[in-house]
Amino acid sequence: MFQLAPNHQDDIVRTAKIRFTFDGESFLAHEGETLAAALMRAKLLHIRDAPGDESPRGVFCCMGLCQECVVQVDGKTIESCRLSVSPDLHVTSLRRQLDT
């Protein structure tokens, strides 16, 4: 049947879910998806605080340019929109005050 605006949500097959941690808290993500997407699914939008005014920031340009979604993994700074979630991924945020 012709659908004007199909909903494909249920027709997408994804890899199995794995665990990763973000500031010590455990989350589920499909292996191989971007950290940006995994955090969006977890409704965790506040990824970082800006230096200076310390205002909350999150994924913005989604293509590795704006540097708003950067996190740290093993001491290295990386954009969450360019980082694939893999098993044993432990992410440290650049938030000043961690949400309690």
Binding site: G32, A37, H46, G58, M63
Partner: protein, 473 residues
């Protein structure tokens, strides 16, 4: 100089892929470098490895087709690498790129730059809140990760992209609270003749809009979101009607939502062109500052060719043929006898470009939109610099993008001015009462993306350092 490859192509979108494929047909060695793991660029961005199967879309089909073509060709595709510097010498270019934390150089006789576009977003109060994403950015998440953004999205912006973002959000199971678009229905009717050049796309667009009406999703034509509200993420937006020149006016109204997608057109990602030594010129119809260019992607730098949206915003269809033409220019430069019909390609390009330029015209912000940026609005997101701070600096005498950057650090943060320079240029032009075309962007400086000290320094033993004799006492 003996080079690593004959031709290097930077960017694997529609332009870069087509340039590389055509050049490879002439038996030259071609290396194509791209920031994404798989070819496709922003418009044909590949699905993440987390997606095992998914329904096709026109973008995924076109993307798969070009990815297959690249993998079956002799083009060497370097995916997931980031070019950070371009050095030029008499008869060659050296490209420096990062691959998995290591900096590698690649020399080439001929360089094709197809770095595409990035979006421009007029700064508004609250645009730094988590939950605000660019419109092109949203499509990138949709294409790569196939998830909706937030649970209830407001899409606000210019041009055709608003409808694509809204349609994709719904297709992937998200909700759209409203579409707020600066364009009026009349703007679209005026663009009809150009759209009839691409009836397929016209039909697709009409289907999206009809679906919105059927699903009772409000479309506010001739409106714009003027403010985003929320504590640590988006809770609602304020929007207003806009005048003919897009000045917001009238009573504010509000829409509850948890995410907002904003966009006011695309601009050339021109920094690579600057590093390669190509001068820029201003063309407001093609997105502002673009590289100076001649026919078929030739430039004032011998051996360096450009194509796609980076050369001026004309859309992906034009980018494909522009890429082919630039690829042919490159092989001709290297001495090949051309056996493709350039005349036919040029005709195809002109046709595609006129459609793309009509779409650009709908997307290019009109002057009134700059009034969205209030005095207290953060303009430079990285450094948290407001419009008032930038204006104070201009009142102290700063008259150029370089002096504003030096004085208040606007554009000195990690993004390198990619998301504030357009707004800053507008502010300077307004203060000086001169056209934007007289306010040149700052000098581009490497690295093109932030790169770590370890990557740039590499494996260096202290005894290997070329320590020269000390300076005179």
């Amino acid at each position: 100089m003996i080079t690593d490859t004959d031709i290097a192509v930077i960017g694997a979108g529609p332009a870069g892929c087509n340039a590389a494929l055509l050049a490879a047909e002439y038996d030259f060695s071609v290396v194509m470098l791209d920031e994404q793991v798989s070819p496709g660029g922003q418009v044909w961005r590949a699905k993440s490895p987390a997606i095992l199967s998914a329904p096709e879309t026109p973008e995924s089909v076109a993307g798969e087709s070009v990815r297959n073509a690249i993998s079956q060709s002799n083009v060497t595709h370097l995916g997931g690498v980031r070019v950070w510097h371009i050095e030029r010498s008499e008869d060659a270019f050296v490209i420096h790129y990062e691959n998995a934390g290591v900096s590698i150089s690649l020399s080439c006789r001929c360089l094709v730059i197809a770095t595409g576009a990035r979006e421009t977003i007029q700064p508004i109060p609250g645009w730094t809140l988590p939950g605000v994403v660019g419109m092109a950015g949203a499509t990138s998440i949709f294409k790569q990760d196939l998830i909706p953004i937030g649970s209830k999205m407001v899409v606000s912006g210019t041009g055709p992209l608003v409808f694509f973002v809204a349609a994709e959000q719904q297709r992937l199971g998200g909700e759209v609270a409203a579409i707020v678009t600066s364009n009026t229905l009349l703007d679209w009717i005026k663009a009809l003749p150009a759209m009839l050049l691409r009836p397929g796309l016209l039909f697709r667009g009409l289907r999206w809009i009809t679906a919105m009406y059927v699903n009772r999703i409000p479309i506010y034509w001739g409106h714009t979101v003027t403010r985003v509200e929320g504590e640590s993420s988006v809770s609602r937006v304020e929007f207003k009607k806009i005048s003919k020149d897009w000045t917001p006016q009238g009573q504010p109204r509000f829409i509850e939502c948890d995410c907002v997608s904003l966009g006011s057109g695309l601009i050339s990602a021109f920094e690579s062109f600057q590093l390669a030594g190509i001068s820029l010129e201003h063309n407001s119809d093609l997105g502002g500052w673009i590289p100076k260019q001649e026919q078929d992607g030739r430039t004032n730098v011998g051996g360096c060719f450009i194509c796609g949206d980076g050369a001026g915003i004309r859309g992906s269809l034009a980018a494909e043929t522009h890429g082919k033409l630039a690829g042919l220019s490159a092989v001709a430069f290297l001495g090949a006898k051309i056996n493709h019909s350039i005349v036919k390609l040029r005709r195809e390009y002109t046709r595609a470009a006129s459609f793309g330029e009509a779409m650009s015209k709908l997307s290019i912000p009109r002057p009134g939109l700059t009034k969205l940026t209030t005095a207290k609005t953060v303009v430079c997101r990285c450094e948290g610099i407001t419009r008032a701070e930038i204006e104070d600096e201009m009142n102290l005498g700063a008259q150029s993008t370089i002096s504003v950057k030096s004085g208040v650090r606007a554009g000195m943060g990690p993004c390198g001015g990619k998301f504030c320079q357009t707004a800053i240029t507008d502010l300077i032009a307004k203060t000086k009462s001169c056209p934007v075309s007289q306010i040149a962007p700052p000098t581009a400086r490497p690295p093109l993306r932030p790169i770590s000290v370890n990557t740039l320094a590499g494996d260096f033993d202290y005894s290997d350092l070329p320590i020269s004799k000390p300076s005179p006492l």
